[in-house]
């Protein structure tokens, strides 16, 4: 059975390494924070100028001057620090943030990502996404395997304007976990529970690499 958003978030949470600094995009990536095991300590970075994002505040502690990059009110944790936008992206661009998890409209088999613009629709802007994908050493994409209209989002080449090239390392979808190979191609690592390799093949337009038995995800 295909995973729901929470399932995707739970599976990605397994990728998180103890002691790492992480930037989470809006949507499913934000949910990942809820499923990181208790014995793993990570620090979440928000590109508007905060390291150490805590939970949402209690009603009486809501502070308009303390938001995350999604403009949601948040709290700080012991050890948090505040800084300006230039310092924030210095952190990102300088490779100090170890992992970026973000959503995508399309990913190509060489790791290009498209997630900021649909021709013909109002363009809202790339925000910090282009800086993040051009900079992070490890980028994991969280998305549905197919679009709402049923088309594969894992392509040979992106059809939409891209956000960054050759940057995505891993993809977790409702159907599978895949690694983007340096030489190109989506290497199938795991299947969602009850989803067959054939279903994944059918849903993947780009080159899918299947070697040996493909285990089911453990969530």
């Amino acid at each position: 059975m295909a995973l729901d958003k929470i399932g995707i978030a739970k599976r990605i949470a397994q990728e998180v390494k103890d002691g790492s600094y992480i930037n989470l995009g809006i949507g499913i990536p934000t949910l990942v924070a809820n499923y990181i095991p208790d014995d793993i300590e990570v620090v979440l970075q928000s590109e508007n100028g905060l390291l150490g994002i805590g939970r949402f505040p209690y009603e009486e502690h809501v502070d308009a001057d303390l938001i995350n990059a999604g403009k949601q009110t948040v709290t700080m944790l012991p050890g948090s620090s505040l800084f300006n936008s230039s310092e924030s992206f210095a952190m990102i661009r300088g490779g100090h943030v170890h992992l970026t998890i973000l959503g995508a409209m399309e990913v190509s088999e060489n790791g290009d990502i498209a997630n900021w613009k649909i021709p013909g629709k109002m363009v809202k802007g790339m925000g910090g996404a282009m800086d993040l994908v051009a900079s992070a050493e490890n980028i994991i994409v969280a998305m549905q395997h197919k679009s709402r209209s049923g088309e594969s989002k894992l392509l040979k080449e992106c059809s939409l304007p891209i956000t960054g090239i050759k940057c995505v390392k891993k993809i977790v979808t409702d159907l599978a976990v895949l690694e983007v190979m340096p030489e190109g191609g989506f290497k199938l690592l795991e299947r969602a529970p009850g989803v067959s390799v054939d279903e994944i093949k059918e849903a993947t337009a780009g080159k899918l690499i299947v070697e040996g038995d493909i285990p089911e995800m453990k969530i």
Partner: protein
Amino acid sequence: MINKVISGADEAVKDIKDDAVLMLGGFGLCGIPENCISALLKTGVKGLTCISNNAGVDDFGIGLMLKTRQVKKMISSYVGENAEFERQLLAGELEVDLIPQGTLAERIRAGGAGIPAFFTPAGYGTEVAEGKEVREFHGKKYLMEEWLQADFALVKAWKGDTAGNLIYKGTARNFNPMMAAAGKITIAEVEELVPAGELDPNEIHTPGIYVQRIFEGKDYEKRIEQRTVTPRN
């Protein structure tokens, strides 16, 4: 004597003329110069180029200046929360220059720091790279990006002193410090204005050298875009 303290927002913005280039601090509606925006609505100045990470919402922030058609061009990283903005853009009444957020922050920082250009990997291989010089350093490709400066920078701080020193609060810092340095004339509105000597020099975020005008603002609304809370039990 150096006198940077002025009476309020009206005096602060009175010499901002049509077609001026402005920088406005803030991320979303957090840390925006509310008083100066209100004053600009009153002067009716037109043809403004506004450099700001976002464009406010329909009825707050820069959105108010869009409604009154005072803005000719926005230079931003994300402008998604504003229906009037979308209408004007699609009608060709508004120019928009979209810039990756880190590049925007760094171009503004460069403007204040006298660095005319620098290299960044953001946008390489995308349409943002069109027309820009690409260069490889240590096996990675980078774009050359140039500084941004403004006729006036409008910033919002938490505390300020009469020497122009500023301290921001929480994530309301965001773009404000870099903009303070990149404005030919920088106007700071603060929640609390104190005499020089009352702020700890070691805690100052924006040294007074960057600020030409300062005043204590009034009636801060500090609107929240996404009020997310943790329920009690």
